[in-house]
């Protein structure tokens, strides 16, 4: 399964934005991801990639751009 395509699709579902041309845009600073959307994204990532999402220990600096989310998910998939 292509992690990048899956992550992009989930981010588009949650924020309504296609981030494929802005992989390094900060999703928190730009206001695209608020806490609510973050949880929705984590839940979607959990079920799609079969990973355990780190809710309350979420280190935002590791999850603040699409590229970093792809990297974090890949790392969690082991």
């Amino acid at each position: 399964m292509d992690v990048k395509a899956g992550v992009l699709e989930i981010i588009q579902d949650v924020t309504g934005e296609d981030m494929s041309n802005q992989m390094d845009e900060n999703l928190f600073d730009s206001g695209l991801l608020d806490s609510m959307a973050t949880v929705e994204m984590l839940l979607a990532l959990e079920s799609r990639f079969n990973i355990q999402a780190p809710v309350s220990e979420l280190a935002r600096e590791d999850w603040d751009t699409t590229n970093k989310i792809v990297a974090s998910v890949t790392a969690l998939m082991g």
């Binding site: 806490s35 609510m36 929705e40 839940l43 809710v55 309350s56 220990e57 979420l58």
Partner: protein
């Protein structure tokens, strides 16, 4: 023995900084003198509680620390092998039990003697210990280190009023000495924060808190004594309290950060120009940030996660609205069990729900609402005044104004 309340007067800084010199020299040369750091922390905590008026609180702090030590030790040990939800919630309940009892007795609901369990800083220490148990549940804290636990719990600069740090973050800083160039930057930053703190706390907060705010309070009270239900004087009461609260708390936080930095610990910042926020959600990303982020991560996000995962409620807007109310109500109650803290929480939760509804409306009707420098300025002014209104409730003056004339 002198009695020294944290950051209360300029002398305190002289004593504290002198005591920290050996630690700073050590850090400069890449060495962290842990025993000395603990000693300084303990001595300055002791000096808070060493007179007759405070000694009871000192004993309460010791009992509290032993209680939390046992809970954290017990739970982290348990968590290595098992992960039962009931045990987790039970441990969290035991962890917040002391502050719940203190708040209940403070409100006169429970045995008044229980207020003896309280001490300066109990509300902030609760975040440290309860947060640690939640982190252990999530696997962010895997091992119990007795000494590191006590260094974290009794870290003196932020003991009485935050900023609220997280164990996993603190332990990373505290395990090593920072790089020399980085430590020099931290010292420079600490100096800046210290002097800005002096301006905030000893000049501006003093001016608004000791001179302006009481004056407008007395003017409003004279209207109250004439039987009036509202008074125009409540408006300057709100402005002056808003200024006082910001400069007092932000000043205090700057001191706590400066001293943390000198000790080589980068405690999280607490304020980032909050009164320039364009909406209420942004406000909570800039006001008392370490508290609101704690609530965001440990209350709001967990609550939302649970709701959505178990599919108890499907509609995302309903979930987030309920979560705002849970989150802000708990935050209000944490301050104390009074009608005005509860109302304060409800007002902020409503503000966030309205804010979300407004964003949805704008998304649905693109182009209908103009967006320019003027509307942004209007949003800042509107947010600031909504916040002032909630602070007028929060400060408790309305309780005096209406019910204790």
């Amino acid at each position: 023995m002198p009695n020294l309340q944290p950051y209360a007067d300029p002398n305190y800084f002289v004593y504290l900084l002198l005591a920290l010199v050996p630690l700073a020299v050590g850090l400069y040369f890449g060495k962290r003198f842990v025993t000395y750091e603990i000693l300084v922390s303990l001595v300055f905590i002791f000096l808070i509680f060493d007179d007759k008026g405070h000694s009871g609180q000192g004993i309460a702090l010791i009992l509290y620390s032993i209680w939390q030590f046992c809970l954290a030790w017990g739970y982290i040990t348990y968590r290595k092998k098992y992960n039962n939800g009931l045990v987790f919630y039970g441990t969290v309940a035991l962890s917040i039990l002391p502050i719940v009892l203190v708040r209940l007795s403070g409100a006169g609901i429970f045995h008044a003697q229980l207020s003896l369990l309280g001490f300066l800083g109990i509300s902030y220490l609760t975040f440290r210990s309860t947060g640690m148990i939640i982190e252990a549940r999530d696997g962010a804290v895997k091992d119990f280190h007795p000494v590191m636990f006590l260094r974290f719990m009794l870290f003196m600069p932020t003991l009485s009023s935050g900023p609220i740090d997280r164990y996993s973050r603190f332990a990373k800083d505290a395990a090593v000495a920072p790089e020399r160039s980085h430590y020099i930057d931290m010292l420079g930053n600490a100096t800046k924060k210290l002097f800005l703190g002096f301006v905030y706390k000893f000049i501006l907060s003093y001016y608004f808190g000791q001179m302006v705010y009481p004056y407008f309070q007395s003017m409003a009270m004279s209207d109250a004594h004439h039987g009036m239900i509202l008074s125009w004087w409540l408006i300057p009461v709100a402005y002056s309290y808003g200024m006082y609260l910001f400069f007092d708390f932000a000043g205090y936080s700057l001191f706590a950060l400066a001293i943390s930095y000198v000790m080589g610990i980068e405690s999280p910042i607490n304020f980032n120009k909050p009164y320039g926020s364009k909406n209420i959600k942004e406000f909570w990303n800039r006001w008392h940030m370490s508290l609101s982020f704690w609530f965001r991560d440990f209350v709001f996000m967990r609550f939302v996660f649970l709701m959505l995962k178990k599919k108890w409620i499907k509609n995302r807007n309903t979930v987030s609205t309920i979560a705002y109310f849970v989150n802000m109500l708990v935050m209000g109650l944490w301050h104390g069990l009074t009608w005005y803290y509860v109302l304060y929480g409800l007002m902020h939760a409503s503000g966030m729900a309205v804010n979300d509804a407004w964003i949805r409306f704008k998304r649905k009707h693109k182009g209908l609402v103009p967006h320019n420098k003027f509307t942004e300025g209007f949003a800042v002014v509107l947010t600031f005044h909504f916040v002032l209104l909630t602070f007028l409730v929060f400060c408790g003056f309305l309780d005096t104004f209406w019910f204790h004339r």
